[in-house]
């Protein structure tokens, strides 16, 4: 009934659209797992997108662009970490400040870069496998960063749930005072997680300008940072579930176009709503079932002050 060609191109597009979301979501999962809520994704992503583009244009090397996009994201995350961890300030406020800061600075600095053509990450067709009918298009015709995102998700799952580092991160986010009494330096763990998270969010942004849209324009993240915050909840703070979530959210976005292009009338208003409805359903589910597998880290967003109960 469903044309396999249609399905293949839908799935391939879902992966394309989902990859920037996946990087940013993985980053925020690590950050939030340590107990730090960073609402500034939109600002960090756009900063990564701009920095990546500018560096790629200046050096001719898109990979260097991606790296610098990550570093720029990390620097913004450092601001957040300083306020929320060192100064114990309200995390929501500094996060929101990052959104305005990122959008403002990139809008200002990025003016002269609009309309420029930089160097981009192009899809690499894996020999033989990419020639497979349909499957080749879906799975083996992407740029290297798209493949790496999946490997990264698996790696982060391993780190979080199978290693001591992961245990420390989770402990810092669930019961910081217990972690502290076990000798974990909560502030250091939170700093590290926030910086690493910011790095990945920045890379997600750089992917957007260097591999997905292949251009730079002001405000080009267009709300993807907020989508990723919903995706973190959807994933239940699990890296492996983020893969599914990111591709699903990316795919829903594309599905409306694909259906319209074949002449099927769908309301894009409704389609754009679906990711958020799904997120609300997952949230409801987690509240009703009270399952840890769906719940937020217990100390999320709460600054940790030694010897003080909230």
């Amino acid at each position: 009934m469903v044309d396999p060609g249609f399905l293949a191109s839908l799935l391939a597009s879902s992966i394309r659209a989902g990859t920037p979301l996946l990087y940013a979501t993985l980053g925020e999962i690590i950050t939030e797992r340590s107990g730090v809520l960073n609402l500034g994704l939109e600002g960090i992503m756009i900063t990564g997108a701009f920095t990546g583009f500018a560096v790629s244009l200046a050096t001719g090397n898109p990979w260097l662009g991606v790296l610098c996009g990550g570093i720029a994201g990390m620097l913004l995350a450092l601001v957040h970490a300083f306020f929320s961890i060192t100064l114990k300030a309200n995390q929501s406020i500094t996060g929101l400040m990052l959104v305005l800061l990122g959008l403002g600075i990139t809008g200002f600095l990025g003016r002269n870069y609009i309309g420029e053509v930089a160097f981009y990450l192009d899809p690499v067709k894996i020999p033989v496998l990419s020639d497979l009918p349909y499957i080749g298009e879906v799975l083996f015709s992407h740029d290297p960063m798209a493949y790496f995102a999946v490997i990264l998700a698996a790696f982060l799952w391993f780190i979080l749930f199978k290693t001591r580092y992961g245990l420390e991160i989770i402990a810092a986010g669930e019961k910081p005072e217990a972690a502290d009494s076990m000798g974990v330096n909560v502030d250091r763990v939170r700093y590290f997680s926030t910086l690493f998270g910011g790095f990945l969010v920045g890379i997600g942004g750089a992917y957007l300008s260097l591999a997905y849209a292949k251009l730079w324009t002001e405000g080009m993240t267009a709300g993807r940072g907020w989508i990723c915050l919903a995706l973190v909840i959807f994933s239940g703070w699990m890296p492996q579930r983020a893969i599914l979530g990111a591709y699903l959210f990316g795919g829903l976005d594309v599905l409306s176009f694909k259906l319209q292009a074949t002449g099927v009338g769908v309301s894009y208003h409704l389609m754009k709503m679906v990711p958020y409805v799904v997120t609300i359903v997952v949230l409801l589910f987690s509240v009703i079932r009270k399952r840890a597998a769906f719940g937020a880290p217990a100390a999320l967003g709460i600054p940790y002050v030694r010897g003080k109960k909230e």
Partner: protein
């Protein structure tokens, strides 16, 4: 306590930095006034960033033009939210003594009217709206005429007889553009169909590119657009199909794919209004000019467009210029809707009111108009 103090200091430093940044930018915008007897100051309120190719960009070209040619001192505010900051921004320009204030988005209509009541000596010009006052005029261009001509190019160039159209939101202006384009296609190629994809965005390059790719995947070999970003053009370039741009000449984004763009030339209207203001003869008007005045038109053709197609388009354009056809052309019967109903009988001309409230697709368009959001 110490922590709170540090936060305060840090925020203060940050705020100071941001303010300094803003001041620097403002200083750059205001150019040195020229020595005119009566110096005119004009302010522009934009709904989006100026960007590289879209709606606001096309208006800003007009602003630069009057600044250069008439020595008008201009200022602008970009990215002003409709129904949010707009009234405050417009009021601020009025208080600063600007002689004429251009508000360039439909959603600024009520704010413009409200502020105009409090500043009876200031002239306000609102783009694309319908409310006027003694000191408020409106202006717009008959873009559908250029759309129609660009549709002829698309219809002549398609080989698959499937033409994609990436559209923003289902308002009459966009629907009118699609229909005019489709009538242009039909004129030269009755077998071709126009496939419409709505993105629900005016300016989201990633989404709009994806929408264009979806159309190309379905076999469309010419992609047209009604969006502010050039992303659909780039999608066409990547996949080696043709494209038709909009707003401004988009050829630099897709040198091979881009055939032509339906473009705005606001400097024509801005010059007219500024001249009226300078001579003291300005009065509230509702300007809706077309290709004959040069407000809309086509950008230069790609080399790929053959001579006979160019000639055909040029002949059609001449009909507007020498008045052979009414301004409403191509909306002259027979016009059928998608269900095959006759909307306008042979020779009947649609009225401006009908054009401004258009809510149906003509018969060679594939796709649906979602329920209007407003």
């Amino acid at each position: 306590m110490k922590g709170k103090f540090l936060v305060f200091i840090a925020l203060a430093v940050l705020a100071a930095g941001l303010l300094a940044g803003c001041a620097g930018e403002e200083g750059k915008q205001v150019t040195t006034p020229t020595e005119e007897k009566k110096e005119i100051k004009a302010a522009f309120v934009y709904v989006s960033p100026i960007g590289d190719a879209g709606w606001t960009y096309s208006h800003d070209l007009g602003r630069q033009y009057i600044e250069k040619v008439y020595g008008v001192k201009t200022a602008y505010a970009e990215n002003v939210a409709e129904g949010g900051d707009d009234e405050r921004v417009i009021r601020q320009f009025a208080e600063q003594g600007y002689d004429v204030i251009f508000t360039t988005s439909f959603g600024f209509m009520d704010a413009t009217i409200t502020v105009a009541k409090d500043f009876p000596d200031t002239i306000f010009e609102h783009c694309s709206g319908y409310k006027t006052a003694k000191n408020v005029g409106t202006y717009f261009g008959r873009m559908y005429q250029a759309r129609y001509l660009s549709g002829m190019v698309a219809g002549a160039m398609t080989k698959t007889n499937k033409i994609g159209y990436v559209a923003a939101v289902p308002i009459p202006e966009v629907i009118r553009g699609i229909n005019a384009f489709a009538l242009g296609v039909k004129k030269v190629n009755p077998d071709a169909k126009i496939y419409v994809v709505w993105t629900g965005t005016w300016y989201d390059p990633a989404e709009e590119k994806e929408a264009a790719l979806s159309l190309i995947d379905e076999g469309c070999d010419v992609i047209a657009q009604h969006q502010d970003s050039p992303a659909a053009q780039q999608a066409a370039e990547e996949r080696g199909v043709h494209s038709i741009g909009y707003h401004s000449d988009m050829s630099k984004f897709a040198p091979n794919a881009h055939l032509t763009s339906a473009v705005w030339n606001w400097s024509v209207i801005y010059s007219y209004i500024i001249e009226q203001v300078m001579q003291g003869t300005w009065k509230s008007e509702q300007i809706w000019w077309g290709i004959d005045k040069g407000v809309v038109g086509l950008s230069p053709f790609n080399d790929a467009v053959p001579e006979d197609v160019r000639k055909m388009v040029e002949e059609e354009k001449q009909k507007y210029l020498n008045g052979e056809v009414p301004e409403q052309y191509p909306f002259v019967g027979p016009i059928y809707d998608q269900q095959g109903n006759l909307v306008k009988a042979e020779g009947e001309v649609m009225t401006d009111e009908e054009l401004l409230s258009m809510s149906f697709f003509v018969d060679n368009v594939v796709g649906e108009i979602p329920a209007a959001s407003e």
